[in-house]
Amino acid sequence: MAMFRRALVALGVAGVIAAVLRLRGSGGTPPQQGGWRELSGPDLE
């Protein structure tokens, strides 16, 4: 029974930590258009 309670507590703590990590931070919005273009030769000037 003690083992079961400990497992439940561990799962609860892990859940809380996961929720904090998941919610923390504001992230950002990915670009809605555009893209990367390789630079070479005269492009670099």
């Binding site: 930590i17 996961a18 990590l21 998941r22 923390r24 931070g25 504001s26 992230g27 950002g28 919005t29 990915p30 670009p31 809605q32 258009q33 555009g34 893209g35 990367w36 273009r37 390789e38 630079l39 070479s40 030769g41 492009d43 670099l44 000037e45």
Partner: protein, 315 residues
């Protein structure tokens, strides 16, 4: 990364001999055999005579070796991205100036290539207000360990005329790297980019650096590494965002590059070493952001496959 740099040096026409030095005899021998005829076993000697010295050993080993070789008047190139190493190496500036040699600090992929990109991007502006660096991926095992460690401790940013320390692992920001990496969450970390870039841009208001990481990386950063790092990392990228003013208007320029970090870092370090010998880098201790000819440097790297890219049309 050291092995990659040695190979790049061996393949350069202006390099006569590359002495490979390492305390580990087996690793040294393997690098010499794999690198080619110009590479020779330099033993574990730390004071071998050479035109220049490239330090690609573990973090923490660079400062004493750099001081030793600088005292002998040799240009030194260091790939360390530890804040402690970088600060101590930059402190060698007065001696490097006095001896008229270059001590190039943080000469890898990011920092290193990213510093050259920042310098190149800055040329487009009348005044640079902000520089933001982000990087994704790791090189060899030592780089992976450094990545792991850098998510603990404190990040060092330059902000509005002073240094600001904030907890590593905080400040999540979605950064868009060159394809196929794309968008990754990046966090503050113990990275030396601000130390290297702030002296280059005298009036800059903000210099920050972030590291791409997963939630598992952040969670496990305070624990020992749970498994042995890969022999060499997969594809990585660096992203340099420069904000400034041109003709009175605010503009943003985003440059980046995608490559295997160990390969790119080796190429950058090797080229920096050759340029240091040729006197094409300023004397003193500085990062590659101090370079005066960023375009030829980028051109030479493009010739070996390390190509810059620009982000266009974003909103």
């Amino acid at each position: 990364m050291g092995a990659r740099a040695a190979r790049q040096l061996v393949e350069a026409a202006d390099v006569e001999e590359v002495l490979v030095c390492d305390d580990d005899a087996a690793r040294r021998a393997a690098v010499v055999v794999a690198t080619g005829d110009k590479a020779t076993d330099g033993g574990s000697a730390t004071d071998a005579a050479a035109d220049a010295v490239l330090l690609a050993g573990p973090v923490g080993s660079h400062v004493s070796l750099a001081a030793l070789h600088l005292a002998a008047g040799r240009p030194v190139v260091s790939t360390s991205d530890s804040i402690t190493d970088v600060q101590a190496l930059l402190n060698l500036d007065a001696e490097a100036q006095a001896r008229q040699v270059a001590v190039v600090v943080g000469a890898a992929f990011s920092p290193g290539y990213s510093c050259v990109l920042a310098r190149h991007a800055a040329a487009r502006f009348d005044e640079v207000d902000e520089v933001h660096i982000a990087r994704s991926g790791t090189g060899g095992p030592a780089c992976a360990r450094q990545h792991h460690a850098s998510l603990t401790g404190h990040a060092l940013d330059w902000r509005d005329g002073g240094w600001q320390r904030r907890p590593a692992g905080s400040g999540r920001e979605l950064c868009w790297f060159p394809d196929p990496i794309g968008a990754e969450d990046c966090y503050r970390a113990e990275l030396p980019d601000a130390l290297l870039l702030h002296p280059v841009f005298a009036k800059v208001g903000r210099v920050t650096a972030r590291l791409a990481a997963t939630r598992r990386d952040r969670f496990s950063a305070h624990l020992p590494m749970l498994r042995k790092p890969h022999p060499e990392g997969l594809v990585g990228a660096t992203r340099v965002e420069v904000r400034g003013r041109r003709n009175g208007a605010s503009e943003v320029l985003v440059l980046g590059a995608l490559d295997r970090p160990a390969v790119a870092a080796g190429a950058v370090a090797a080229l920096a070493t050759r340029w240091a010998v040729a006197g094409r880098l300023p004397v003193g201790a500085h990062g590659l952001g101090a370079i005066t000819e960023p375009v030829p440097f980028l051109d030479e790297l493009a010739a070996v496959g390390i190509k810059a890219a620009v982000f266009e049309g974003g909103s």
